[in-house]
Amino acid sequence: MDILLVDDSRTMRMILQRAIRQAGFRGLTVEEAENGAQALEKLRKAQPLLVLSDWNMPEMSGIEFLIQVRSEHNAVPFGFITSEASKAIRELAMSSGANFLISKPFTPEDVQDALTPILSGK
């Protein structure tokens, strides 16, 4: 697994997969989870190069998921892709250990800019 995509919307997972390909990252293995709890289970079994997560999700939100990941001493690069893009949310994400936050709607260029420093050469 190269990227773990976490979003409760099947549509958004589909759009993200497409945006990752359009951003030039092809041939990567992308696994999906519908919420933080499901993603945490997957992370405990395999370590991806990157986690991309929504913020608002049922069962376990994106920020709860990130805090749990970091509390388990997992330093996996972690980015949010969310419609929650206020300054306060951005600051909370970064202070909790996120590497970046992309606000919806996004372009393939936004995805490319955020992912390149992490995935270049992979």
Partner: protein
């Protein structure tokens, strides 16, 4: 409540679906028999309610473009009731992303989508029945079915502080 602007909505939806979308503000629109989709939001920090009402064909266009369907296929699929899961999920996501542009004051958080106004309950139900403000838009989508889009909102409560 600071009103959503046609410019902000146009920019957001054009970016979201990758096609030219144009919101044009209008005066009050007459109700039609076109089926409607409703998005319910909470606007922070004042916890006020905001409701979006959009023509089903319009929301269907946004959703269909997102998942790569042509206009003719979207129309066929919208004619089936209940709405298929793929389009329904995509419409839900469209309304979620729209939270960034439905108000210019505070932070709107999308709560849920309903297809029947009877399910607009609580404070959202009160605002929907008696809004402080309505914004009406005609929306065109390049190569796809357009429609009407309305935002129902309430004024931010003012707290009087006595010395």
């Amino acid at each position: 409540m600071a009103e959503a602007t046609p410019f902000g909505l146009t920019r957001l939806f054009t970016q979201l679906i990758g096609r030219k979308v144009t919101f044009t503000q209008t005066t009050a629109a007459l109700d039609t028999h076109i089926k409607q989709i409703y998005g319910i939001y909470t606007v922070h920090p004042h916890e006020t309610a905001l409701i979006v009402k959009g023509d089903l064909p319009l929301l269907g266009s946004f959703a269909g473009v997102l998942v790569g369907l042509p206009d003719s296929v979207i129309k066929q699929r919208l004619a089936v009731s209940p709405i298929e899961e793929l389009l329904r999920d995509a419409m839900n996501e469209v309304l979620n992303v729209a939270s960034a542009a439905v108000t210019t004051e505070g932070r709107a958080v999308f709560t849920k989508m309903v297809t029947d106004p009877a399910y607009i309950d609580g404070s959202a139900g009160k605002v929907f029945k008696k809004p402080d403000h309505r914004s009406y838009f005609n929306v065109s989508v390049d190569g796809y079915q357009g429609g009407k889009f309305t935002i129902f909102s309430q004024f931010v409560p003012i707290k009087l502080v006595t010395p």
